[in-house]
């Protein structure tokens, strides 16, 4: 029944897409479409929530679609339900946001048809139960989002971004296709049920893992397969950027979990090493890349890479524990990963909404042209701040909870028998901490340069607060961030069926713990109580305020900034994004990006302004992708000569082919 509802919603979305093609592109129509999407997402969300909360058993369904003798198998189990919730929640908020934000969309005709299709595709991926349906929806998801990325096709960067995106996506899909080819075997048993039944050999499983890492990893944005992500996500309209970053990457994570934890069977112990190394690199690289950006949306996109890394650290730990038959530790790590999936979908969407609001209000994505927005758009500023705090893993918000759980899982590593893992995991934990600290730095920069300080351009100076719908969407997610932060136990317990299904164990029930605190293993070992911390901070803060205002003074006078006596009215004297990261660039960037800062000082008397030249190189692109592109170009050039032969030379080709075949024939016996 639930599954039927979900499918009905997906069908409704597709219908909406058709409607959008048919009807015009007036603002009213756009509102109608987005409203429809919102309703569909909401219904589907409710259905999935019910299914997860009352821990119902899996429902499955087969439609006479797709490959005829196979049919389209669909299944809703705990895992699907959870990811369906993530998808639909994101879709709900994005649609709500778009009702308002879509008003100033320059090319609605290129967004409206694909937006619902994109939503439908994502929810279909998570309920697909056979290889064909899965890949179909998967690639359809890429395709529809590609169309959205190139919506503003007059900007050459967007078209290029779309190109890189679609090519990478197809490579990923083909990798998954190969993986399923292995799993399905020569007689083509494509339905997941059949794949689960036929247990795979270890070697085959290894290939599948690698292919799954390439396939799902490229979609999720694992370094070094992340290159498309920071190009494509910012290029799309903001509500779509939010969906791509906050939700689509999670669908990719779902794909990985489904294949590696569900279909392949028992993992080999060293798989986790591969995953953990990649994940650790992804986490640190992602945040370092982000620090080098001054385009707000691109910065957020790179943070998606970082958070995907964190999620995969959790998954890698879960693999390690699972392979060593430590179900409870595995359950902890797995739950941490899933919780982070949920949290990240919340605050990343929130942040992209905020950047969209800024973009709409100022027409700027470049932080160096913004500033002081907190005065012009106070509400946006507030919710964006919540998002920043959450993604920087500050208690008592939700980002901290999942990273704390991950760290707790890291601390269980000494119980692992294998030395490699014993030595690797703490290093990964250090990387996790490092990335958390860097993320905080990055968001101080992002928030401080964008919203604080003085406006750097007229556009920023006369920005307007965004519309009510957008604000509502952002408020919703900000509130959820807080709730998930102070009442994590509810969410952890809700995840129990998922880890039960895939790990065979669950974290201890949290509801019983005193004061709603969370206790992963034992109270004596570690515990955290977001609610209490929140109450403490609020309480002591208010106490201090009350005491001071009552007993001491509450007088206040406005005056020019002090600035050590050298105040300068020119906003250019503020710290900019580039200058803010200069120390970090100098510490980390010089190695990772061959970053070079050089200040060009004109000679005294020379009236030219001084300049700061910052050069940051993307080594991953330079050493991995550029060569590949060159090779293809070279091959194309070489082979292209064959287009310009004379007829006689073509005949020679035919002739030599004939002779070769005859020789082969002669040598056959």
């Amino acid at each position: 029944m639930t599954l039927t509802i979900v499918l009905a919603c997906a069908a409704a979305l597709l219908a909406l897409a058709a409607v959008a093609i048919a009807t015009g592109t007036a603002v009213a129509t756009a509102r109608m479409i987005y409203g429809g999407c919102m309703i569909a997402a909401g219904v589907s969300l409710a259905a999935a929530l019910l299914h997860l909360l009352d821990a119902a058993g899996p429902e499955s369904l087969a439609l006479p679609l797709g490959i005829p003798w196979l049919g389209a198998h669909l299944r809703l189990d705990a895992l699907s339900a959870f990811f369906l919730i993530v998808v639909d929640l994101g879709a709900l908020a994005a649609s709500l946001f778009a009702i308002g934000y879509g008003a100033h969309e320059s090319a609605p005709g290129r967004v409206l048809p694909f937006y619902p299709a994109f939503l439908a595709a994502m929810s279909l991926v998570v309920v697909a139960d056979d290889a064909f349906t899965f890949l179909l929806s998967w690639e359809f998801m890429s395709l529809s989002s590609w169309a959205l990325v190139v919506a503003h096709h007059r900007v050459p960067e967007n078209v290029r971004a779309g190109y890189v995106y679609l090519v990478m996506a197809s490579i990923g899909t083909l990798a998954l296709l190969l993986a399923f080819g292995l799993l399905a075997g020569p007689e083509g048993l494509y339905s997941f049920a059949q794949i689960r039944a036929g247990h795979q050999s270890a070697l085959l499983g290894t290939f599948v893992l690698v292919l799954a890492l390439i396939g799902a990893g490229s979609k999720a944005g694992i370094v070094p397969l992340h290159v498309w992500l920071p190009l494509a996500h910012p290029a799309a309209p903001s509500q779509v950027s939010a969906l791509m970053s906050g939700v689509m990457t999670k669908v990719a994570v779902y794909g990985f979990i489904r294949i590696v934890f569900d279909l392949v069977g028992e993992p080999a112990w060293w798989w986790s090493i591969v995953v953990l190394v990649l994940a650790g690199a992804t986490t640190v690289m992602g945040v370092l890349y982000a620090l080098m950006q001054h385009d707000l949306k691109r910065l957020l996109a790179y943070h998606t890479v970082e958070n995907i890394g964190i999620i995969f650290i959790g998954l890698g730990l879960a693999l390690a524990f699972k392979a060593h038959a430590m179900p409870f530790a595995a359950a902890l790590a797995f739950t941490a990963a899933l919780l982070h999936v949920f949290n990240h979908s919340l605050f990343k969407s929130l942040l992209f909404f905020g950047s969209g609001a800024v973009l709409g209000a100022t027409g700027e994505r470049d932080m160096e042209h913004l500033g002081g927005l907190i005065h012009r758009m106070p509400q946006t500023a507030f919710v964006f701040l919540v998002g920043c705090a959450a993604i920087s893993a500050l208690p008592p918000l939700n980002g901290f909870v999942s990273e704390w759980l991950t760290l707790q899982a890291v601390l269980l590593s000494p119980q692992l028998p294998s030395w490699a893992l014993k030595l690797l995991i703490p290093a990964v934990g250090a990387m996790l901490a490092l990335s958390a600290a860097l993320a905080a730095a990055c968001f101080v920069k992002a928030y401080g340069v964008t919203f604080l300080g003085r406006p750097r351009t007229p556009a920023a100076a006369d920005a307007r607060e965004t519309d009510a719908y957008s604000l509502a969407a952002m408020m919703l997610f900000a509130a959820l961030c807080l709730v998930a932060g102070i009442l994590p136990s509810l969410f952890i317990d809700a995840l129990a069926p998922v880890s039960n299904a895939l790990i065979g164990a669950r974290m201890p029930a949290q509801i019983g713990a005193q004061w709603l605190s969370i206790v992963p293993i034992a109270a004596s070992r570690s515990s955290y109580d977001g609610l209490l911390v929140f109450l403490f901070i609020a309480g002591s803060g208010m106490l201090a305020a009350f005491a001071i205002h009552r007993l001491a003074s509450d007088r206040l006078r406005r005056a020019p900034a002090w600035d050590c006596g050298y105040p300068d009215s020119n906003p250019a004297t503020q710290y900019s994004a580039t200058s803010f990261t200069q120390p970090i660039r100098r510490v980390f960037g010089s190695i990772v990006f061959r970053a070079r800062d050089q200040a060009v000082m004109p000679a005294p008397g020379d009236t030219r302004p001084a300049q700061l030249k910052v050069e940051v190189r993307d080594l991953v692109w330079e050493f991995l992708y550029a060569p590949a592109v060159d090779v293809v170009a070279l091959a194309a050039d070489r082979l292209n000569r064959l287009q310009f032969l004379t007829i006689r030379q073509f005949l020679t080709l035919v002739f030599s082919a004939l002779v070769i075949l005859l020789v082969v024939l002669a040598l056959w016996s």
Binding site: P68, H153, L178, V632, L639, Q643, L651
Partner: protein, 479 residues
Amino acid sequence: MSFDGLTGVLLVPAVAAALLALLPGYRVTARLNVLATTLTLICALSLFFGRPQPGNYLLVDDLNGTFVVLTTFVGFTTSVFSASYIGHELEIGRLTPPFVRFYHAMYQVLMFAMNLALVANNIGLMWVAIELATLTTVLMVGIYRTHEALEAAWKYFILGSVGIALALFGTILVYMAAKPVIGEGLGAMVWTVLVARAGSFDPALLDLAFVFLLLGYGTKVGLAPLHAWLPDAHAEGPTPISAVLSGLLLNVALYALLRFKMLLAANAAALAPGPLMVTLGLLSLVFAAFMLYRRRDIKRLFAYSSIEHMGIITFAFGMGGPLANFAGLLHMTMHSLTKSAIFFAVGHVAQVNGTQRIADMGGLTETHPLLGWSLTVGVVAIAGLPPLGIFTSEFLVVSSTFARQPWLALILVFGLVVGLAGLLLRLNSIAFGEPRGPRAKAKASYVPMFAHLALVLIAGIYMPPALVAWFQNVAGLLG
């Protein structure tokens, strides 16, 4: 003999050809052309119900039934498209009325030849029919009589003739192999008889024959390195002919190959034809994929993509087995529909832009939304992206291959990725970006284009069980 669908598919085009050769006037002839193709299509469909007994010369079975229906259908839609296309060519004076008359007559002759080649039960007759089809297309490719057109036609002609000669030699060899077993005379060239007794033929002779047939008919299929005629012929001829070439003639040649493959498969001692076809298929795929990158002419671009897909199909049939064969058949059908749709779009695009140079096109989705988006959908489909039909067939080919021959599958995937990247690269510059070229309203016939794309889309999501059963049966025949 009584008039049935079989005679229909041969008679109607023949008669129509004669009529069209005589009748003047563009309007009439164009309509008559459409009418004739419609009738042919109806006759072909009637083959589902009444099927004549195989004679010494003609045969209808599931295999060529598939092809006949496909051929007549695409022939029909193309004639509709060509009505508007040729009309435009007349207006701008690229064609003169006598040439139009000639064109229409030749169109029907081509239909006749292809149908004959398909329903021929006699390998000699089949050969004659394919030669006829080739010569007709040669004449039509050269119809614009520009320098490039004549050159393309000449290239096509010479290479085609050599191919014909090789194919004939192969045919003779088959006869020689059959003669000792079946005895002299006609019987030894009737395919049904041959396939029945192929087991006792001399294997060595069969092998030799297949080599020649593979090269001979492979030239028509456009497999690398025998492909040279194909891009120019597509680019320089009138677009309807490009559509028919890509959509149909290649299939017909491939069909001939398949017949002989079945012959070899029936003989245990003969070498397996699979490896040869697989090799040529992969070669064509990878080669064509790389060739896509440096194309400046839009029609030549899609001609190369045809080579690529012929490579995939040949590969699939070469792999054999029910799954791969099914995939091959599906892929062939889908490719015919999609590629002809693309050529329909391309024809109009070239007409509105007044050029075939990709560099002069841009932002098409903005200047001509219908054309632009149809082209985009077509390219997306041909690139093997869901939810369109070619994705299904590629899914089956790749996944079924990877379980059997991992390395081959890796090469296949490599080729697919390279090709996809090449196509999209061009698509970006044509369909998106700053609009270039004139914004003049397009006088186009969208119906055939949309019909094809709709079919491809539906097939990508849902295939009627009847069709599936039919295909599976055919796949079984192919062994």
